[in-house]
Structures are given as C-alpha cells and as structure tokens.
C-alpha cells in the first residue's frame, strides 16, 4: 500500500537555525510509529511540518490525497475568557450532532463531561477530550505529541492501551512522540530515534540496542524494553532506576 506521509530529504529551519536535516521518513497505513529523542531534537517540529504549520526549507513532504489527520497537541491552553463547553469544542471545525458527541465522549471514557467548560477540566480529562475530538472524523493518521504529559504512570499506561484499541478499531496509523519509552515501545511497530536527524530506526528492540540510541539515552534505558517485559511478570524493580537515568539523559 502507498505511504500516508512521505518525508523526502526534508530540512527544517527556524530562521537561520537548523532544526532537522535530511529527514526521510514514511508512514504506512495502520502502523504505530514512535519518535524518541532528547529535548530540542526536532520531534515537535517534525509533527508541525507534517500538519503544514512549518514549511520545509528544502525537501518535500507528500501526503496521501485527502489524508484525514487527527492531531492531539502537546498542550493546549484554552483562555478562560473563551466560554467553551466540551460538546461545543467537539464541533470544531465541523459541526457534529449531539448523539455523535455523546458517543465520542463515551468511547473516550469521559461520558459525563459534555456540558463542562474546557477550562475547568483536569489534565487527564482534557487529553481524553482532545483525543475524542481527534478521532471524530475517522482519521487515517493519528498524531500524538507527548499526549500523556502531566498524567501519572497508570494514567499514561491506560492512555496508550486506549490508543492501541483505537488503532485496532479504526485501523489508523499512529505517529507519536513520547518520553515514556518503556510504556510506548511495547505498542510500537517501529521506533525512530531523532536528534537533529534520524539517528536510527527500526523495531523497538533493534533501536533500543543500537549504539546511536545508547549514546543519546545512556545504557540505563537499555532496560526500557526489559522493563516492559518485566511488566508482564509484575516485577517493577527497575522502574525507578530507569526513570532517573532517562531524565538525566534529557
């Protein structure tokens, strides 16, 4: 099948500063791809280029004809001067019926929020509403930019399980950026390690053991996968160890 999105030798710049160099990435229908990389490595810029908010300095980004994108941004601040109920928010930019809105909220696990104000939601509720909105029009590609920021570990684990379920239901491709390698990798078909350019990419276990990846994140995160496997056995011994070394590598 044809790729949904294809980056062809893409260079991104903010003013004179290079953000991403010679990026070649393509996303196939239905696959889950995770982008990892230290702060300032160009992860968010890559997503912004994908939605068209950032024009490449050179190279091409081609999208499949009529590609439907569902986008869940890193954070979204809705000014309290703007009255906006959750239901109203779901109708942006395309009006939907009340039934569809209720159904979307029910599926997102937040059925009772319809008439609440967006500015009064908790972090977790807000992310679920954003996800519900992104899924409304059956996207072929779902983009998640650190969508679990501000959620605790069980919260983000639940969020990613939900994403996997969504993928299986809608059969959409998922491109996500995350810090929480140990949770994310389990669900990913492919991991792309970014640091101004594509350092390495491949299956999660291949990337985790790649020297480029180790150089960026330290060998401490080598336990990321191992940790995930431990999760099945309910052994959480290295969790703390991993998180610290991961933060240190940021």
């Amino acid at each position: 099948m044809n790729a949904l999105v294809d980056f062809n030798n893409v260079n991104l710049k903010y003013g004179a500063q290079k953000v991403l160099e010679d990026v070649n990435i393509s996303i196939a229908p239905g696959e889950i791809v995770t982008i990892v990389g230290p702060n300032g490595s160009g992860k968010s810029s890559l997503l912004r280029a994908l939605i068209g908010a950032l024009k490449p300095a050179s190279g091409q980004i081609s999208r499949a004809m009529g590609l439907r994108i569902g986008y869940v941004p890193q954070k979204l601040h809705i000014d309290p001067t703007l009255p906006m109920t959750v239901k109203r928010f779901l109708s942006l930019p395309v009006k939907i019926s009340d039934t569809d809105a209720s159904e979307a909220l029910r599926r997102a696990g937040v059925p009772d929020l319809g008439s609440r104000q967006m500015s009064n939601l908790s972090g977790g509720q807000f992310q679920r509403v954003l996800l519900a909105r992104a899924l409304l029009h059956k996207p072929q590609l779902l983009l998640l930019d650190e969508a679990t920021q501000g959620l605790d570990q069980p919260g983000s684990a639940a969020f990613y399980h939900h994403i996997e379920k969504v993928r299986d239901e809608l059969n959409c491709a998922v491109l996500m950026i995350s810090h929480e390698l140990h949770v994310v990798m389990s669900a990913s078909d492919r991991v792309i390690c970014l640091n101004g350019h594509v350092c390495c990419e491949g299956k999660p276990d291949v990337v985790a053991s790649a020297p480029e990846y180790r150089a960026l994140f330290g060998s401490g995160t080598g336990g990321a996968l191992a940790l995930y496997r431990h999760d099945h056995d309910h052994v959480h011994g290295h969790e703390c160890d991993h998180d610290h070394s991961h933060e240190a590598a940021e």
Partner: protein, 262 residues
C-alpha cells in the same frame, strides 16, 4: 423616518454595536484589546490624509487602519513583542497624523469630532456607509466563524484540520479595520476600543458558549448605544462617551452577577 437626526443616530449606534459585538469577542479571546486601540489611534492619520487629499474620511481611515493592522500582524513574532510594536506604530501614526493636520491651512477641522465622535451629525450617506460596513463585517465573521474559532483555540489544531490560521488572522484584522473606520463617526477614535471590548467582557460571565457570548455582547452593545443616546439627549451630554458609560455600568452589573455566583 430617516429625517430625524435622532433616528439616524440611533440606527448608526445600533449598526456599530452589532458589528463590534462578535469582533469584540475575538478581541477579548485573543487578547488583542490593545490591537483595537492602536488601530483606532492610528486612524487620526487617516483623517488627516483624507482631508488633505480631499477624499472621504471613511476611506482615509480604512486605508490607514488596514495598513496599520496588516503591518503589525506581519511584523509580530520577529523579535518584537506585540505590545512594543503596537506602541511604536500607534503613537507614531497619531503623531504623524497630528503634524499632518497642522499643515492643512484654510481648513479648520474640529479634531474633537474625530476624537470623540459626532453621532448626532450622522447623515444618510454616513448611515449607508455604517450599515454597509457593519453588514460586511457580520457576513465576514459569520462566514469564517468556525475557522476563526478553531484558530483562536489553537493555531496548530486549525492547521491540522486544513485551516490556515494566518489567513484567519488576516480576515479578523480586516474586519477590525472596517469596524474602526465606520465607528469613528459614532464614538470617535478614543472610544472605539471601548465599544469592542466592554460589551464582550460584560457578556462573558453570562455565557456558556462562544455563540451565546457574541449574541449577549450584541444585546449589551445595542442597549448601550440606544440607552446612551437617550441619556445624552435628556441630560445634554456628549453622545459617544455616554454610550460607553452605559456599557461600563452594564459591565459592572454583570461582574456583580458573576461574583455573587462564585
């Protein structure tokens, strides 16, 4: 019916209030209050240019307001903060305007009429221009409402839905310039921003959705215009400022309502 200057004044006030209401909401949501102010102040330069080139004041103000608004939009985010840019542009424009006015010999212009408006002198042609402008703005904002709203909530979400937030910003800027140009006769340069911001701010505590906020702002704006005119007639006070006073009192009342609810 249009023979009475009071009827013409009432219609002019209503027209401006209706167009200013939804636009004022965007000004409040996007924290552009100072933007409206700066555009309005710059229009003094437009008045001066119009008088020196013998064209209509409306056209002169519209051109200057458009140039001002688009150049601020383009320059913002390139090393200057928005408020710095607005400060530079608005005050330069007002200074150049005042200097330009001093070169106009022979013509004695009543600067006060442009600073504070002269709603009682609104003629039939003015009325046509005001309602033409107001309907244009309402149509523009109505047509782009969903896109404008999403771009206000988040430019990136808009982009992901295939909406260009810069284009929406430009539409808003043009609408703002039109409102400033048509409102100058009604409330004057100094108080246009008040007519944009106060009704919208007063509507906020009473509204649950953006649409309702715009509708309530329109009602508050309309009541301020008609009530202000009535009071100005009865107490022989300047009409433009009296309208703004009524709007301010309504804002006070709505704040009391929201405080008592909390």
């Amino acid at each position: 019916m249009l023979d009475s200057f009071l009827v013409r004044a009432a219609l002019a006030g209503l027209g401006v209030a209706l167009a200013a209401a939804p636009l004022g909401c965007f000004v409040v949501w996007r924290r552009m209050a100072y933007f409206g102010d700066a555009t309005a102040h710059a229009s003094i330069l437009g008045v001066a240019l119009a008088l020196s080139f013998n064209m209509s004041v409306f056209a002169g103000v519209l051109v200057v307001a458009l140039v001002m608004a688009t150049s601020v939009s383009t320059l913002s985010g390139r090393g200057y903060a928005m408020d710095t840019l607005l400060g530079v542009m608005a005050h330069s424009a007002i200074a150049f305007g005042l200097v330009a006015v001093s070169f106009l010999d022979g013509v004695r212009i009543d600067l006060m009429a442009y600073l504070f408006g002269d709603i009682l002198a609104v003629g039939r042609v003015d009325l046509a221009v005001i309602w033409g402008g107001a309907l244009l703005v309402l149509a523009l904002v109505g047509w782009r409402w969903q896109q404008l709203l999403l771009s206000t909530v988040s430019p990136d979400l808009a982009q992901a839905s295939g909406i260009d937030p810069k284009r929406e910003q430009l539409i808003l800027t043009i609408a703002l310039a039109v409102v400033v140009a048509v409102a100058i006769k009604v409330v004057g340069v100094l108080l246009i921003a008040a007519l944009l911001v106060i009704p919208a701010a007063a509507a906020r505590p009473l509204a649950q959705t953006p649409e309702r906020m715009a509708a309530i702002a329109a009602v508050i704006g309309g009541v301020s215009a008609l009530g202000g005119l009535q009071l100005a007639y009865r107490f022989d006070t300047p009409a433009g400022p009296t309208m703004v006073c009524v709007a301010a009192v309504l804002f006070g009342l709505s704040s009391v309502v929201s405080l008592s609810r909390a």
